[in-house]
């Protein structure tokens, strides 16, 4: 079994190559823009991208790697850019990408349906191309060689033109890397109340994340802190949900947590059915008490 990993970030390369190793005996890595990380795959492809070109213009290079390797499965880091590269590869092969796969069992893969309300078990009839988060694999160390092959750039027929980029100021931590995550939800009536969630983070050595409405509807927190379907998929040691009702769309992002702790004033909130420890109470009284007593 041969797996081709298409990844963008260095973490993504490393984690997906490690994951690929758990299902395949041969792992090939392909990277557009920037050199592939060495020593994590049996072979790596550096798909050339001239300076100033957008990543999506390298679709032909990805196809060239696929044709050269003819892998049994393609694992793709679910970034917007690589989703496009994966989609164009699939289209050129006359098939579909299966997106945001949460489990692989032979040819049958699982992803979420209606935001996690159900699991959709499915099978690709042709080429198997999955976008998949690294958290879906058990922890493993990647292994490999330093062999790198370069694929020359072939411009698409109607190329995109990158006029410029500006950095998005990064606020908040990389939640995939912390042991304790505190999640804030709609139970927070005002932005100023988030301070107590931050104070709790300081107290427990955790970092703050949120449910989608807080990052999208009210924009109190940046989008890179939103946990759930199409957001972050986390597996921390502990997840503390504050004022989060526990809708599937959010909970699928933390099902991997060792322990789930919930504070919600609604005794019937679905979060309590998915929590290890919960307290029925107002966050405005419970959170300060937690900070004081912990």
């Amino acid at each position: 079994m041969k797996a081709l990993v298409l990844a963008e970030t260095t973490d993504g390369q490393r984690d997906l190559c490690a994951g690929a190793r758990s299902i395949a005996d041969e792992v090939v890595l392909a990277v557009v823009k920037g050199a592939p990380v060495a020593g994590i795959a049996d072979k790596a492809y550096d798909i050339e991208l001239p300076a100033g070109e957008p990543v999506e213009n390298a679709a032909a290079g990805v196809k060239a790697v696929y044709d050269a390797e003819n892998p049994d499965v393609v694992l793709v880091e679910p970034t917007p850019r690589d989703k496009i590269l994966a989609g164009l590869l699939a289209a050129s092969l006359g098939t579909s990408v299966i997106s945001d796969v949460t489990a692989i069992d032979g040819d049958v893969v699982t992803n979420m349906y209606f935001g996690g309300l159900a699991e959709n078990k499915q099978k690709a009839n042709g080429a198997k191309i999955y976008t998949i988060a690294a958290t879906c694999f058990d922890d493993a160390e990647p292994t490999g060689t330093d062999v790198v092959e370069t694929i020359a750039y072939t411009a698409p027929e109607k190329p995109l033109v990158l006029r410029g980029t500006k950095e998005v100021p990064q606020t908040g931590a990389d939640l995939t890397k912390v042991d304790v995550v505190v999640g804030a939800g709609r139970g927070f009536a005002e932005e100023s109340e988030l301070q107590m969630a931050r104070d709790l983070c300081t107290k427990v050595g955790g970092e703050l994340g949120c449910s989608r409405p807080l990052a999208e509807n009210v924009n109190w927190l940046p989008k890179n802190l939103y946990i759930g379907v199409s957001g972050l998929q986390l597996a921390p040691k502990a997840y503390i949900a504050l004022g989060i009702s526990g809708q599937m769309q959010h909970m699928v992002g933390v099902t991997g947590a060792d322990t789930i702790i919930a504070v919600n004033k609604d005794a019937n909130a679905p979060i309590f059915k998915q929590a290890d420890y919960g307290i029925v109470g107002d966050i405005k009284t419970v959170v300060p008490a937690l900070i004081e007593k912990l």
Binding site: L88, S96, V168, V204, S230, A267, G278
Partner: protein, 251 residues
């Protein structure tokens, strides 16, 4: 500008319930516009308003049970001039390749002279974020995703594309397919005049022109079995016991 917007009609997930055998029960769930497609509709309507003489054409590929009078009227009440819908029951769980082929069929036969096709971030059911890419490939035009603003410049579209760490300004040669981030526009509330005018707008519903060519077979759709949790729930009065439990868990 001839602006096409691709819209999915899905059962309202608020009213989808899980049956005892963990299959989904749709019997109470009425069809509605897929949530983030409303942002795409609004983006299309605003883009049309910014480019005088534009028209907005909605296209949709759905199973016949989602060919719903109210949902169609709703689409046409949100700044859309005309709707073309193709139905086939295989579209309920069809993969993005298959869905894009049906949409391409609509585009080729009904709006071959389109300038841009706008898709939402993802559909409420599959949330693959792939149909825009497949449709672009099928039509042989460029595509981009995560678009948070767009403006027309001659035969090009200039978009702002927002990623986690950077914002790119990208020129997309037209015609093209773009998928927009929900941030691009807040969906409007349909006004009464729009609701009533929608009934008079042209809409065409036809069976999909060709058999739906599914590339991914669905084996099983079932609610997940939740991981076993301790489910120790405390009342507010028992805060000390709760704190002790949390302290233990965080050790």
């Amino acid at each position: 500008m001839k602006i096409v917007v691709a819209v999915k009609v899905v059962p309202d997930d608020q009213d989808i319930f899980v049956s005892a055998d963990r299959t989904l029960d749709y019997s109470k769930a009425k069809p509605k516009i897929s949530e983030y497609d409303k942002n795409a509709l609004e983006a299309a309507a605003q883009f049309a308003a910014e480019n005088a003489g534009s028209s907005v054409i909605a296209i949709s590929a759905v199973p016949s049970k989602n060919d719903d009078t109210k949902a169609k009227q709703n689409i046409l009440a949100l700044g859309v001039d005309e709707l073309f819908m193709a139905t086939d029951d295989a579209l309920e769980t069809a993969d993005s390749y298959a869905t894009a082929q049906v949409l391409k069929g609509i585009v080729d036969s009904k709006v071959p002279d389109y300038d841009v096709i706008i898709c939402g971030d993802g559909s409420a059911d599959l949330y693959a974020g792939q149909v825009n890419i497949q449709l672009a490939a099928a039509l042989g035009v460029p595509t981009i995703n995560e678009v948070t603003s767009m403006k027309a410049e001659g035969d090009k579209l200039v978009v702002e594309r927002t990623l986690d760490t950077e914002v790119e300004e990208i020129e997309v040669p037209l015609p093209a397919v773009v998928s927009v981030s929900p941030d691009i526009a807040t969906p409007r509330i349909a006004g009464m005049r729009d609701i009533l005018a929608a009934k008079k707008k042209p809409q065409t519903v036809e069976a999909a022109a060709a058999p739906v060519d599914v590339k991914v077979s669905v084996e099983d759709i079932k609610a997940p079995e939740l991981a076993p949790r301790k489910n120790q729930i405390f009342e507010e009065g028992d805060i000390d016991a709760f704190v002790a439990a949390v302290a233990e868990a965080l050790k």
